[in-house]
Amino acid sequence: MEFGVHHANHYYGHSHVLARYCGLDDAEPPRIHGYLQHGWNIGDGMAPDHEYVPGIAKFVWSERVRRRAWSLGRREVYVVGAPWAYLLALSPEPIDAPKREGTIWYPFHGWEGQHIVGDHNGLIREIRDTETGPVTVCLYWQEFRDKRVRALYERAGFRVISHGYRGGWWKDLDPGFLYRQLAEQRKHSRVASNRLSSAIVYGTLAGCEPAVYGDPMQLEGEKSAFGGQARIVREWGAMHGTSIDLDYARALATAELGADRLLPPAELRRLFQWPAPQDVPDFELTGVIPR
């Protein structure tokens, strides 16, 4: 198990985005001295498999998670905001962007080794009954590789994509994950899923109208850590439904992703114990490090 950098810090290219924001080489992001929250979380922000070394910083996305983590006995917790929010700050949507259309739909997935109990066909019916525009289904890489699952959604007339593999243990890391996700979400006017998850919060911040409906597809032997799906529905009830109050959703996404409290690069570098950016004159002008 790794700390500073925990291998999870590189999931989805999170540390790559932050390195770019900090003016560092985003092909080889430096080691973050601390644990970085890597998904929207109803617990203490950290993955359950983390092994903690005392005194090591935990960087979480939102003030709400910080409060919760503190109450759960975590210390050295600091709100930095989500890498997604930094990515959006780095890549504002162009004014002349093509018109958004349709829905990007994320069927809830498990992780490696978790298998979903649920009915894809039932879900497909609900999607068809609800969405009026074209639908893009984004599958987790595991399901995307499964031809049967893919074919199910394709036969329904949906476009089927995957944002890629999140990576792990510094192997098969995918620094392009978030970029692809942002590009796809910005093509769509709605983002939907059968569970409130990172993708919904991301999409909302990226300008999509969110929706959460359909069979939540329980995982086989799913553990209800921090209250699980039942608590999500209870606590974030207003984020569920085929149509959600947009102002509320945006305020929530801003808060949950810490988008209103991003750090200046100098502060982020200091806390991660990252080096100062190279003195590359071109970089000052273009924001691109030549390699």
Binding site: G55, Y78, P264, E284
Partner: protein
């Protein structure tokens, strides 16, 4: 002219400070002298400069040690108060040193009440008394280590004694009961005999100038000896709790017999100079705002305040010496501003590194709305920032940051919060503290113990990881050796060798061609 009245102490001086505290004096007390008029008795040790500054010519000084008599140009009565002829002869009695040094060692002990009665017996029916009184529960005593008694302490003022008024309200009540009307009363900092700050009831009741008052008190209380706890931190906390008078080291009261006469003494004396309340900057200190934001965990507000401070002309002024005026009463941002950060407009974010050269204030949503009024001259900005970091650590606010509570490191993070790139090594060294507080030392020990155990845990983890990586490296090397021995491995090695030979051949051809 010196008159020995009886009870005088030979070879004794209260003025030289060798047997007890120095006499009452200083420019702050000088600001009260407009209240002095007519025939005046200066009772007890007062500095000759103060006596010389009295706005009246008819001055008599009462002292107990014969060595002090030559210091005064005025008539001197040398001896013990109770020996003085009890005639109500004086228009003004000045007892700014309090009632503790009016009797000599020859005199039987008198209570505070008895001493006051003796003093008031000298005052004309319409006379005026200027009286100092040490607060035995003042911040100076609450934070002090047990003192060694001085020669003058053959009896000491004691708060077990019901005859000595304990607390500000009781002092005023006792004077009123003695037939006086109080026209002015001041809380005095940092001590009875050498105050540099005098705050009238009116000043203490003015909520808008609390920052300027706290800044002055902080300067006044800068410790000169080891303490139990930081007196500045305690005094500023006392002000926040509206205890600025209750916990003042001393009080100075101006009271009259008969009809109170208007006095032209100032509402406040700050840094030994009279101050007009209407002209003081309004608001709380910047340090107060910063720590409040830290305690609320309001990082955006903290960043904005730090940036406003460090990017402006007040950057070199300590945060405790700046009054900050901020438009909204509760904080920086009106509650609705957070909602304006919507994805449609792209999140309002601090400038990414690619544009960071445009300046540290860039990206501040309410930039320029914080007005800072410095109350002290500016020094080196990084020293000021470091002093704030030191206060954050010593005051117990450092757990907001997920770093070891090291002054230089925290200073660098604070600089980072303003967008400034700073390595801890570039932070100027702090001056070696001349004094220590026992409480801070204990907290430091506690913190260092924790940090050491954390460092050990980290070390163990690194050790474990190193072993893991070494094993992995060994395995990869073995696999490499094994693969190179196989047929495809040899073929690959041969292929690479062939390619290298080919590259060499091409290069030599190119060279020869160029040579032609």
């Amino acid at each position: 002219m010196t008159t020995l009245i009886g009870g005088e102490m030979l070879a004794w001086s209260d003025l030289d400070g060798s047997h007890g505290p120095a006499p009452a004096g200083g420019d702050a007390l000088r600001s009260l002298l407009p209240a002095v008029s007519g025939r005046t008795l200066v009772a007890g040790p007062h500095s000759p400069q103060l006596v010389a500054a009295l706005p009246t010519t008819d001055v008599t000084v009462l002292i107990r040690g014969d060595l002090d008599a030559p210091a005064f140009d005025t008539p001197v009565l040398c001896g013990s108060l109770e020996k003085l002829e009890t005639l109500p002869a004086y228009d003004t009695v000045l007892a700014l040193d309090g009632l503790g040094r009016l009797h000599s060692a020859e005199a039987p002990p008198f209570t505070w009440d008895e001493t006051l009665t003796q003093l008031l017996a000298l005052l004309k029916p319409d006379g005026r008394l200027l009286l100092g009184h040490e607060n035995l529960f003042g911040v100076h005593r609450l934070t002090a280590l047990p003192p060694a008694p001085a020669d003058a302490d053959w009896t000491v003022p004691d708060d077990h004694d019901p005859a000595r008024p304990a607390g500000h309200p009781r002092l005023l009540a006792r004077l009123t009961a003695a037939g006086l009307r109080i026209s002015r009363d001041y809380a005095a900092y940092p001590s009875l005999t050498a105050p540099t700050v005098l705050l009238s009831e009116e000043a203490l009741a003015a909520p808008t100038v609390t920052g300027a008052l706290q800044a002055a008190v902080a300067t006044a209380l800068a410790p000169t000896a080891d303490t139990l706890a930081d007196p500045v931190r305690m005094a500023t906390a006392a002000f926040r709790h509206d205890l600025g008078a209750a916990l003042a080291p001393a009080w100075v009261v101006i009271a009259e017999r008969g009809t109170p006469q208007p006095t032209s003494t100032p509402d406040a004396v700050l840094d030994s100079a009279p101050a007009d309340l209407a002209e003081l900057p309004q608001g709380r200190t910047l340090a107060d705002h910063l720590l409040a934001a830290a305690q609320r965990r309001d990082l955006p507000a903290l960043r904005e305040l730090l940036t406003a401070w460090q990017s402006g002309p007040a950057a070199g002024v300590p945060a405790t010496q700046i009054v900050a005026a901020i438009p909204t009463p509760t904080g920086l941002l009106p509650p609705d501003t957070a909602d304006s950060v919507l994805p449609d407009t792209a999140p309002v974010a601090p400038t990414p590194a690619s544009a960071a050269s445009s300046g540290p204030a860039a990206g501040s949503p309410t930039g320029g709305r914080v007005a800072l009024s410095p109350l002290a001259p500016a020094g080196e900005p990084l020293q000021a920032l470091r002093a704030f970091a030191a206060e954050v650590i010593a005051g117990g606010y450092a757990h907001l940051w997920p770093i070891q509570a090291d002054e230089a490191e925290l200073t660098a993070v604070l600089a980072g919060m303003t967008g400034r790139e700073l390595e801890p090594g570039e932070v100027p060294a702090s001056p070696t503290p001349a004094t220590h507080s026992v409480g801070d030392l204990l907290a430091d020990r506690e913190r260092l113990t924790r940090e050491l155990s954390e460092a050990r845990a980290k070390h163990e983890w690194y050790e474990k990881m190193l072993l893991h990586r070494e094993a992995e490296l060994k395995r990869v090397r073995q696999m490499n050796a094994l693969l190179s021995a196989t047929v495809p491995g040899k073929a690959a090695a041969g292929l690479v060798g062939g390619l290298r030979a080919g590259k060499r051949a091409v290069r030599s051809v190119v060279r020869r061609t160029r040579g032609n």
